[in-house]
């Protein structure tokens, strides 16, 4: 191409953009690579200096993550019968014996229940509210929308103490329901605003055609609006899930024995038998997976979600 083009970026700017994106990707991925590689290192490898890029991978970290162990005296260790199973064998290699399962599985499950539960609730309530705001004459519509948005104007942690007291009175502290409601409360404003944008873009004629074809308003919503809004719903769900999944401060404050999620649990691993960084890294790696899978599954929608409204179709 020799001719100067107005719309086609020049070669130099394409290269520039490519380098920029590559640099950004490296910077973003570096911590992930670090965590994932650490999770496969032995304890000494994980803290060696300079850091080891090439090492013998081991699943010690994962075994330690899922178990509690004690370190008996070396003489006692030698008197034990041979290890029973691969987990025991790996523990023995570190000079420990397994005394029972850790609480990681339980905490992880709590995260799944609370994260996906609050995401589902945010999406259900958000979609219905956004549809109503988009289509119906709601009294004080603008004020209500502003009020909903205003819940996002301060950091949620600013209301931590009132919420803590309220939850204690209501018996919601350290319950799945309490955490689901809390994260839904924080996410609902995002869900309503994002989804309203998406639903506004769906022409009303589709529903009107369905209404005339003999469907009720709710049937029209379910069969015509929902399939059209799928993109918006998917990307909103990702945003909601990422927040609820990663939330740390409220989880520390409001959960302990029963409904504790993974984020406050993972750091507590450090204490068991010295600083067990591979186990922490293993926890973090596993913790990353659900959101990563969810996002990869919905990534097409997510991309549209980020750029939606930028270009009028």
């Amino acid at each position: 191409m020799s001719a100067y083009s107005v719309t086609e970026p020049s070669k130099a700017s394409k290269w520039g953009a490519g380098i920029l994106v590559t640099l950004y990707t490296i910077i973003t991925l570096l911590p992930l690579v670090w965590i994932i590689s650490t999770s496969f290192k032995t304890g000494p490898d994980s803290i060696s200096y300079p850091p080891k890029v090439f090492f013998d991978p081991t699943v010690e970290g994962y075994v330690n993550l899922f178990t509690t162990r004690t370190r008996p005296a070396v003489s006692e260790l030698e008197t034990l019968p041979p290890p029973d199973g691969i987990m025991e064998e790996i523990a023995r290699r570190q000079g420990t014996i397994i005394t029972g399962p850790s609480r990681f599985g339980e905490r992880f499950l709590n995260s799944v229940i609370i994260g996906f539960g609050s995401t589902a609730l945010s999406i259900i309530l958000g979609t219905l509210a956004a549809y109503a705001f988009s289509r119906f004459k709601v009294p004080l519509k603008d004020d209500l929308l502003f009020f909903i948005l205003s819940t996002r104007m301060m950091p949620p942690i600013a209301v931590a103490i009132p919420i803590y007291l309220m939850y204690r009175e209501l018996g919601l502290s350290d319950t799945h329901l309490g955490m689901i409601l809390l994260y839904t409360g924080v996410n609902i404003s995002l869900a309503v605003w994002l989804l309203k944008g998406f639903i506004d873009e769906i022409p009303r004629e589709y529903e009107e055609a369905a209404l005339i074809d003999g469907y009720t308003r709710f049937q029209a919503f379910r069969k015509v609006v929902l399939p059209q809004a799928a993109t918006g719903i998917a990307s909103t769900a990702i945003f909601c899930l990422i927040f609820a999944w990663n939330e740390y401060a409220f989880a520390v404050l409001l959960t302990s024995g029963n409904a504790q999620t993974a984020p406050p649990f993972i750091p507590t691993i450090i204490g068991v038998g010295g600083q067990d960084w591979p186990a922490v890294a293993a926890g973090a790696t596993l913790f990353l997976l659900p959101v990563m899978i969810f996002t990869i599954l919905l990534r097409k929608h997510l991309l549209r979600g980020i750029t939606f409204g930028a270009v009028r179709k």
Binding site: A209, A210, D213, Y215
Partner: protein, 364 residues
Amino acid sequence: MAEIVIRNLRKEFGAFTAVKGSSFTIKDGEFFMLLGPSGCGKTTTLRMIAGLELPTSGEILIDGEDVSQRPASQRDIAMVFQMFALYPHMNVRKNIAYPLVSQGVPKAQVAQKVAEVAKILRIDHMLDSPVGGLSGGDRQRVALGRAIVRNPKAFMMDEPLGALDAEFREIMAEELRALHDRMHATTVYVTHDQLEAMQMGDKIVVMNHGVVEQFGTPQDIYDHPATLFVADFIGSPSMNFLRFEGTAAAGAETIALGDIPTPLPQLHEPASGALVLGVRPEHVALSDTAPLRGRIEAVEYLGTTQIVTLSTPFGTVKSRTSSALPATAGALTGLALNAPRLALFDATSGRALRTAANAGVHHG
């Protein structure tokens, strides 16, 4: 099929009144046009008949039953939208079948009906295509198919040809009219295109600012407009208006246009004050002997006819004459007005005065 009666229909959106008490009757099997400029209330009227808007007051009777406060789904009406509104996540077959599915029609019967309709509209070869890739005309056919598939009481069409390009619009207009002649379905059709309305409609309602200006056959509306607005809106070029001050008693057969005595259809009511003499361009002939004089300003050649624009003491006048007649810009000539086809309007109210020509045409 059904007769639709509209009585004192009114629609307010907050402080704005979109439709100010319309009344008219759509006879069974009629192709009925709602015509007017944008914002005149024609689409609101259609949406009220369909049940997509509820009227503030007034009655809508379909087959003698007042349905004005019923939801759209209970009115048994089909609608074709300007932007087609095909369900984008379904293919052609599913789109057409959708209204039948909602009624719980058995599958075999749905398939048969869809095939039948697709054949009528000549879209049977594309039943399994997604609607996204179709051309405008094909989309419109699918939308029509979805409307006719369940034999509703009436069809509502909201500028169904508005989104098509000019060439295709004419083909679809003919197809629509042919479809109507075959099915004899009561059809209410909204358009802002007066040519489309005249070409296709059995009856036309002309609306402006939420008011029904005139209601009648295309011929009556063209030949005997009830108001200055209708006279100006219908016809291309529109009716010429010669503005003057004058008086005439009821029964008079001439009126003084300035100092030129001008014959016109016998007046059935007295006229005085600011008046407007209306004449269609085809009823203005160029004649050297005529007392009304004008200077030719421009000549537009249109093939068999030409439009001659003249300036006269009473304003600009356009004449449609045969292209064979000589006319050169700058020339002075006389204008002969075809007396039986003249209309006289009251300039203040905009209303056409009753004459022998329009007697019996105008309603309230």
